[in-house]
């Protein structure tokens, strides 16, 4: 046999491929490592409590049934405390030192803005649970997939509710003076105006301001028919509701999902002050007229009831945590590999993937995967097991 050049090339290619084969053989037994970066402690920690329950539960499910192709899922969590500097350290830690295969988190926009480019550099498959519009850019960050609505989708839900269901024309828009609030305020004012609504009053309010009566009064005098609120501060939201009552004003309040957090129930002077408050919610986590959730979610709730508390957090956070783990494990199961490119490639093919939280669809050009019509408005004071009643007017 003469040694042709082609054979030589083939032989050397085989030699080169050998380590890769060994690696993938070893990978079969190797656990699937998932970096889970979140705000476990500190002032912004309440969503993480929910997410983490979902993550843990889903991992138990997968590992309990033998893992993915025999591989266990190992979650490596890091507490970033909502601090972008700690988030950058933690991201590099899970990428370079822990050598994870995919990352979920961090969960605050300030952290995500900093960590997204770092994950992109490492081509690390990452599931983004943050609403800031600019986080998703399939060209710059082909590895990042949003598994929550974007800010624009939240805005759409509130605006559609105001315009098409409540049928109002004059709105007041308020936000808190934080990084999130200031940007949400600007986006929201622009989108409401673009849709032809009249923004009669808008303000960015210091969340520590002890009394918001003047702001409410000005909105009232300007003839607002609905107050739109973009704040994560339960204190500020409750103060708005108390001030609304003190002014004898029965204007509806609509906005951020935090309007439904249980903290507000404790902070309003009277329980009824929490009426006529509608917050962004999700079809998957809303009770229908029969008092039941959509089937998969009702089943989920029934199966976990008693295993961990549901009432002190939102069901969608738990659902999102479950979905994140399922998205990762399914990608590995379907492609048989935990390589970055394989996971990313698989996610790019998803069409109306039915998650507990919502439906996800991704293409290489579109990584804002959350189905817009899954975002609805809920009645803020109706939380049971982390889920809410739909706001009036939905069919």
């Amino acid at each position: 046999m003469s040694l042709t050049r082609r054979a030589l090339v083939r032989a050397s290619a085989a030699t080169l491929a050998l380590p890769a084969i060994i690696r993938s053989a070893r990978a079969a037994a190797e656990p699937i490592r998932v970096g889970w970066l979140a705000t476990f402690t500190g002032p912004l920690s309440s969503p993480t409590i929910g997410f983490d329950r979902g993550v843990k539960w889903a991992v138990e499910q997968v590992n309990g049934s033998g893992g993915v192709n025999g591989r266990m899922i190992e979650v490596i969590s890091r507490d970033t405390q909502g601090d972008p500097t700690k988030a950058v350290n933690a991201t590099q830690d899970v990428i370079s030192r822990q050598k994870v295969h995919a990352i979920f988190g961090p969960v605050n926009s300030g952290e995500l803005l900093a960590t997204t480019p770092i994950m992109a550099r490492a081509r690390m498959p990452s599931l983004v649970a943050g609403v800031v519009n600019s986080l998703i850019d399939p060209v710059k960050y082909p590895n990042a997939f949003r598994v929550t609505p974007s800010n624009a989708q939240w805005d759409d839900a509130v605006r559609n509710y105001c315009q098409n269901i409540m049928k109002v024309k004059k709105v007041a828009i308020t936000a808190d003076a934080t990084g999130y609030g200031t940007s949400a305020h600007d986006d929201s004012v622009a989108s409401f105006k673009k849709a032809g609504l009249e923004v009669v009053y808008d303000a960015v309010i210091d969340p520590a301001q002890p009394d918001v009566t003047p702001d409410m009064l000005r909105a009232k005098n300007a003839g607002a028919e609905v107050m739109v609120s973009w704040t994560v501060s339960a204190g500020m939201a409750a103060r708005m509701m108390n001030a609304r009552a003190a002014l004898n004003w029965d204007v509806p309040i609509a906005g951020h999902p935090a309007l439904g957090t249980g903290e507000i129930g404790k902070l309003v002077d009277k329980p009824e002050y929490w009426e006529k408050v509608y917050q962004v919610g999700y079809r998957s986590c809303s009770y229908g007229p029969d008092g039941k959730l959509p089937k998969p979610n009702q089943d989920f709730v029934d199966s976990v009831k008693g295993k961990f508390p549901l009432a002190d957090t939102s069901l969608w956070w738990i659902a999102s945590g479950v979905d994140a783990i399922r998205l990762i494990s399914e990608a590995v199961a379907k492609t048989g590999s935990s390589d970055s490119d394989k996971i990313i490639g698989y996610w790019n093919t998803l069409q109306m993937w039915p998650g507990l939280y919502g439906h996800y669809s991704f293409t290489p050009q579109e990584h804002n995967g959350f189905l817009g019509s899954d975002v609805v408005m809920s009645k803020a004071n109706t939380q049971r097991d982390g889920a809410f009643d739909l706001a009036p007017g939905y069919v």
Partner: protein, 286 residues
């Protein structure tokens, strides 16, 4: 509109003024400005909510226990963060030790209590949320009562006169045989109670929130800086003015700009009149 601004302005202003008085009481006894002043106000709110809301005590025992708790914090401040550094007063180590102790109080509360604002109990149930609601006038009443109480204490009682003597001239007072250390501890306990009262009376407005400590610390210091160190009347005038200015700025300019405006005005006034508007010039150095 004006009523709403004035009501909220006087309410937070009175709270700031009380924190200013807290600074003053500690300073008079020790020549130390303590970063814990604001934390005492925070603790007043948190302990009030803890005793009344969480542990279900009636209002009055809850109030007394909250104040006692704050007095205890004041006492511990003296022992841990003030007394050990009094020898080297000119090295200003107290700035560091009280800052450290204040941070410890704040983070401890954040972790063990909550990082979210918690409800504070409704104390009397007077008013329906309007400008005459109790949450607006309770701090003002507390502030007035404190000022009158302190005046009576200082002018009418022996202990009060001893406080004044210490404030006037530490060395001379010691030379006269006054128990300087005990009086200092008593002063810090008193300061703790006054700071606690600020947080308790302002609790319905500010809620039981760990981050109130830092806010009150700064805005409680402003009236001291404006009114002159050790000058309680100056602190009250400065505090009320600050409260109204802040609320008016919030109303006229909105959150972020208003916050910046308050800081800018504070720094300018301080640079123009470092001794405060009602203060005395600095002591001799050589």
């Amino acid at each position: 509109m004006l009523a709403a601004i004035l009501a909220a302005g006087f309410a937070v202003g009175a709270t700031y003024a009380l924190i200013g008085v807290t600074y003053n009481i500690m300073f008079s006894a020790s020549r130390v400005m303590s970063f814990t002043a604001g934390q005492l106000g925070m603790a007043g709110g948190v302990l009030g909510a803890l005793f009344i809301n969480r542990l279900g005590l009636p209002i009055l025992p809850g109030f007394i226990l909250a104040l006692a708790g704050c007095a205890l914090i004041g006492l511990v401040t003296e022992i841990v963060a003030v007394r050990p550094v009094l020898k080297a007063l000119d090295q200003h180590l107290y700035v560091l030790s009280t800052l450290a102790f204040a941070l410890m109080i704040q983070t401890f509360t954040a972790i063990e209590w909550s990082t979210e604002p918690q409800p504070f109990p409704r104390l009397l149930g007077i008013g329906e949320g309007g400008p005459l609601d109790e949450k607006f006038w309770l701090p003002v009443v507390a502030c007035a009562a404190t000022i009158i109480g302190l005046e009576l204490l200082y002018r009418r009682t022996l202990v009060g006169r001893a406080f004044l003597a210490i404030a006037e001239d530490n060395f001379a007072a010691r030379a006269l045989g006054l128990p300087e250390r005990n009086l200092r501890m008593a002063s810090f306990a008193l300061a703790g109670a006054v700071g606690g009262l600020a947080g308790f009376a302002g609790g319905e407005l500010l809620l039981a929130f760990f981050a109130n400590g830092a806010t009150l610390n700064f805005f409680g210091f402003v009236p001291v800086a404006l009114g002159g160190l050790g000058n309680n009347r100056g602190a009250v005038i400065g505090g009320l003015a600050l409260g109204v200015f802040q609320q008016a700025a919030n109303f006229l300019m909105g959150g972020v700009v208003a916050g910046v405006a308050v800081f800018v005005v504070f720094i300018i006034v301080l640079l123009v009149a470092p001794q405060g508007l009602f203060g005395a010039p600095a002591a001799r150095r050589v």
